[in-house]
């Protein structure tokens, strides 16, 4: 009967098997067409026609000319930014969420609103607000690429918040904390030995999704005149669009890999808490 339209035990109607495959096929096509086109583009030989893996081999063996040095530097910058953004999330957001959950539950809606706010603000608007702030930051702390992590810490908030909060909701933080306290654990011990191990899936998911967001960010870096992977790709694209597309595809592959890791962690958590 699974192929028939009907209702689940909760009464919510479910689409037929044909409709499900139709939706999946359409969405899959929407994603696949540009990616396949990009791959096909990178394999073209040019005017002589035919296909070749030469450009992929050049990129994967790091056999690029000095004009592409900017790309290596940009990848380094993006990795620094990703690490700094994740560190910010772990140091500021996670303890705040734990404190709100345990001691100030009345502030949970406020925190949720603040954390989800950046998703509704266009990056360009954010930059307009951030530009004068970065003027001050540049004078006080220099214009190192790491300073972008402060802005990125804001734009990853909605994703990191949801990942960590869903984990906090899945475990009884209050009871676990009180149990640990009654057994003689100090507050730092409660956090290190009880809460963080049980929040690991949420923290990893939050960290991976933050890395994915940072690796794909262009607008803020460009408008604040900082160089990251995406801004470098724009530069490279002007010289050699093939290389730029190959690097884009690789970064896309990395992001998909991160999402698969998040999914695997999520499945592991579901098994352990069920």
């Amino acid at each position: 009967m699974s192929g028939m339209p009907g209702a689940t035990r909760t009464g919510v109607p479910t689409p037929s098997r044909l409709a499900r495959w139709g939706i999946l096929g359409t969405v899959g096509l929407l994603f696949a067409v540009p990616i396949v086109a990009m791959v096909e583009f990178t394999l073209r030989r040019g005017l002589e026609g035919g296909y070749s893996l030469d450009r992929w081999i050049t990129v994967l063996t790091f056999d690029l000319g000095p004009e592409y040095r900017v790309l290596g530097q940009a990848i380094g910058n993006s990795l620094i930014l990703a690490a700094a953004t994740v560190a910010l999330m772990l140091v500021l957001l996670v303890p705040t969420m734990i404190v709100v959950q345990l001691k100030l539950p009345q502030l949970r809606r406020v925190l949720e609103f603040v954390c989800l706010l950046p998703i509704s603000i266009p990056a360009i608007v954010l930059v307009v607000g951030l530009a004068p702030v970065y003027g001050v930051i540049s004078r006080a702390a220099g214009s190192g690429v790491w300073t972008l992590a402060l802005a990125y810490g804001i734009i990853v908030l909605p994703f990191a918040y949801r990942a960590v909060q869903s984990n906090l909701d899945a475990i009884d933080v209050t009871t676990l904390t009180e149990a640990a306290r009654s057994l003689g654990a100090s507050w730092p011990t409660v956090i290190a030995r009880v809460l963080l191990p049980n929040l690991r899936p949420g923290l990893l998911a939050g960290a991976f999704i933050s890395v994915a967001v940072v690796l794909g960010e262009f607008t803020i870096a460009s408008l604040l005149n900082r160089q990251n992977l995406q801004t470098a790709l724009v530069i490279v694209q002007k010289d050699d669009p093939f290389i730029a597309v190959i690097v884009t595809l690789i970064s896309l592959l990395v992001a998909v890999g991160l999402l698969l890791v998040i999914g695997a962690i999520g499945r592991g958590t579901t098994r352990r808490t069920s």
């Binding site: 676990l176 149990a179 009654s182």
Partner: protein
């Protein structure tokens, strides 16, 4: 001999600690007074149940004793020392919670070891004592299992082992059986009582289930609106309730209108002695236990005609609901050999045992 029984972490002989609540007041934001000046003393090794309806303050009392809530006024004494300013992790207590509280990332054995680890006990000693504690609760073969691989009853037994393994001065049980099914609940409460008696540990047991409280406790404190309404042995509470609330909450009571006069209450044609002869004369509601109502023959003195409404078989006894000729309804508790049929005309009378009364 099991190591849990006779020594503390410092190696000295265990002496069960007395516990006292002294005029403890706890108010919550918004003006709710959860504890309204309660005072209660527990003798060393005693198990006292805090019994009462939801919101009466029993869990708050336990949490104040544990240090999980801060008292606004009063003192908490453990072994004669005021611990009101002592943080939870320094109070040397063991606690079992209503909801399952095992750490999901640790095995049963590691869960039990946790408190010992916090006290800096060496690894080999830790494992030995944790294994002993699991053996005490009958789960010595479940040490490698995680919480999600255990049933609810097993999880609470591991939680009990975890609370006991550190040899705490006081054991706090916050409705530890309420999430379990009926059969497991009875088994586990007997196990808890057995272990508590064996270890001689001072214990506070919070429950809203009067049967559970009467079954396990040395004394029961019945709470209402942040106050202790009565404290006494289960027998005292049942036979001599200090108030209508206690009589109603502990066991079943029939409420019959009557008149108090000269140390007795007159119900219909019957004169029933009062538990508290000092009750003021006048109209009152007599609270009569179902076992103090009996079927009678039509010609018996004081027998009143009634009609059977319903009857319930409860294993070793039967309860039958009847309606008297004046419309009042009564529950009669009787032997299972008699099978009243709904609609059957019967006669009932009250035995002359002392009763409590409530204001009319």
């Amino acid at each position: 001999m099991n190591d849990l029984i006779d020594r503390t972490d410092t190696g000295s002989l265990r002496v069960a600690a007395p516990v006292a609540f002294v005029d403890v007041v706890k108010r919550f934001p918004g003006g709710t007074t959860a504890l309204d000046g309660i005072s209660l003393e527990l003798a060393p090794g005693e198990l006292v149940a805090l019994l009462g309806p939801s919101g009466c303050g029993k869990t708050t009392a336990l949490r104040v004793l544990a240090g999980l809530e801060r008292a606004d006024e009063g003192h908490i004494l453990i072994d004669g020392v005021d611990v009101i300013g002592t943080p939870t992790n320094k109070r040397d207590i063991g606690m079992v919670f209503q909801s399952y509280s095992l750490f999901p990332h640790l095995t049963s054995l590691q869960n039990v070891e946790f408190g010992l680890r916090m006290r800096g006990v060496a690894a080999a000693e830790r494992r030995r004592r944790a294994a002993e504690a699991l053996e005490l609760v009958g789960l010595d073969h479940h040490g490698a299992r995680y919480a999600h691989q255990l049933s609810g009853g097993q999880q609470q037994r591991v939680a009990l082992a975890r609370a006991l393994v550190t040899r705490p001065r006081v054991l706090l049980l916050d409705e530890p059986l309420s999430a379990l099914d009926a059969k497991v609940r009875v088994q586990l409460r007997e196990q808890i009582r057995g272990i508590q008696t064996e270890l001689g540990i001072t214990t506070v047991f919070v429950t809203h289930d009067q049967e559970e409280a009467l079954a396990v406790a040395d004394r029961v404190a019945v709470m209402r609106a942040g106050r202790i309404e009565q404290i006494g042995t289960p027998e005292e509470l049942y036979a001599r309730p200090a108030s209508a609330f206690v009589a109603d909450f502990v066991g079943l009571s029939n409420r019959l209108p009557g008149t108090v006069a000269e140390g007795a209450v007159i119900v219909g044609t019957q004169r029933l002695p009062l538990i508290d002869p000092a009750v003021a004369a006048g109209a009152a509601i007599a609270l009569v236990r179902p076992e103090d109502v009996v079927f009678a023959a039509a010609g018996d003195a004081d027998a009143r005609p009634a009609v059977v409404l319903t009857t319930s078989f409860l294993g070793s006894l039967r309860r039958t609901r009847v309606r008297l000729d004046d419309g009042a309804e009564l529950t009669v508790q009787h032997e299972v050999g008699r099978h009243p049929v709904p609609g059957e005309a019967v006669h009932v009378r009250l035995t002359a045992r002392p009763v409590a009364v409530a204001p009319a």
